[in-house]
Symmetry: C2
Subunit: 303 residues, 2 copies
């Protein structure tokens, strides 16, 4: 079973985690949190989103967070956007990496927007043109490529059509986001192997939720297929849009702990990661699902 | 990544799960639970243990449970024992399969019992002789072969010495039990591959705890190495002897759900399994860590 020597863990808790919380953190809390994350050694941080504040009120202050943030050299601070308005906000507040997202689910997209996912991606051209004009990097995300409530399993050819639409726009960093928590390890291994082989120019980021307890197993399967970039959320903060109260994103500290134990370098200080997760738990004022948070590291057991 | 066509899930909740609970179930509740488990399609059930009632009071009524149980044809009902006294109790109450256990940890065993693990296994001869005289099957378990609080990693050669001690006693069904929850997928894959190749006559059962969130990933890694027998506990009931309050055994319904989604046959009715877990939650009167229990099956999402 193949495992890489080194992986990159992207901390998405400030966006995908906090946007699911009832309690909205202050700008100061968010900034302090993100600075601690960078200090712990994370090289990619999803700071927030530039969606409409009415749609995602928890992310309404992303612009202010970017303005107040003391950026660390060598760290990438990205934000999720919905359209060109997001690029404008990114330009205005000094965010230099934006991420677009489309659902992999053809039926869903046709019913909601009356266009196919690849037509949706093609419409992102206004955003990518504007981003390029301002030297802002653009990443693309495909949500639910492993299955969705509308389409149980997405045929590989449909995912490939979306990937090609992104490539046509010049986007070669692509996330596969299991937002519905339906992915299974065999499927992850097969799809990742296939996409890696067919599009060697793409940098793949895998984004798993732990809705049905499969997050870590899916990461191991993706690593076996040669994937080395993964999203995760501190303490496992987050949720599933389709299942109220379900578990959130795969837990950052659990992934880092596993990598350490497997001899896979992450560049992250696990103790600092655990401290951050404990602090996040106090900020959101409820228990977090992290396992290592509760049980301690393997090495803590040593007599 | 290899996956088998069919696996056997052994329900160990009645023993490894319930023995960690403060609340002791009545004989009637235990019998009813075990009969429901058999009815759901499980072919191996760990009913309880014949340890001294002072050591494990939750299991004091295992004899009565065996006496009252309506056994289902084709289902194996096993019990954990510590020594020949356990075989005597098994004979007396009609239990026809017992399981012995030794720690893989040399240092631990030497310090506690002043003998090596393989010497401990050799001492089991009294038990195996008595069992054989009464046509009772014997299984052997090795706990913490992936690491223990006393010995961070156990050298493969030390595990092999214990396996050979079991084989010398005529025991060819061997469990590897990660009771400390320290196992990692790469290690699981390597040790399972190695042991399967070196001892093709042995039937291996892998027993994982979800202490640090690795249970399901370890099962996937073991399956990739060709292992097809796994222990699991309803709702994830159980614990870790070294970490108070930590997560318990790998969750039966989550494993069955994964197998169904991966096209791996288990012979188990998942809906009945979920019903059992919900009932166990009511019996022990606290929330259980099962993920599918909370989020529902993938197929529940279908619009």
């Amino acid at each position: 079973m193949y495992k890489p020597d080194r992986v990159v863990i992207c901390e998405v808790g400030p966006r995908d985690g906090l946007q699911n919380e009832e309690k909205v953190l202050t700008v100061e809390e968010k900034i302090s949190l993100i600075e601690k994350v960078a200090d712990a050694g994370f090289k990619v941080i999803e700071v927030g989103s530039f969606m409409h504040p009415r749609a995602v009120p928890q992310m309404a202050t992303t612009d202010e967070v970017f303005r107040g943030l003391r950026k660390k050299e060598g760290v990438e601070y990205r934000a999720l956007i919905g359209n060109a308005r997001g690029v404008e906000r990114a330009v205005a507040c000094g965010c230099d990496k934006v991420k677009l997202n489309v659902s992999a689910c053809r039926e869903h997209n046709l019913a909601n927007l009356n266009m196919t996912p690849e037509e949706s991606v093609a419409r992102f051209k206004e955003s990518t043109d504007l981003a390029r004009a301002h030297q802002i990097a653009v990443s693309g995300s495909i949500s639910m490529p492993f299955g969705s409530p509308w389409q149980y399993r997405i045929p590989v050819e449909e995912v490939k059509t979306i990937v090609e639409a992104y490539i046509d726009l010049g986007i070669t960093e692509i996330s596969l986001s299991d937002a519905s928590g339906m992915a299974m390890p065999d499927q992850v291994y097969d799809l990742c192997s296939r996409l890696k082989a067919d599009y060697p120019e793409v940098k793949w980021i895998l984004h798993f939720h732990n809705t049905r307890g499969m997050g870590i197993a899916n990461i191991v399967a993706a690593m076996a297929a040669g994937i080395t970039w993964f999203d995760a959320s501190f303490g496992g903060l987050g949720g599933c849009p389709f299942v109220p109260g379900a578990a959130g994103n795969v837990v950052t500290e659990d992934v880092v702990h596993m990598c350490e134990e497997m001899g896979i370098e992450t560049g992250i200080n696990l103790d600092k990661g655990l401290e951050i997760a404990r602090w996040v738990g106090r900020l959101v004022a409820h228990e977090l699902p992290g396992f290592v948070l509760k049980a301690g590291k393997n090495s803590d057991l040593l007599k």
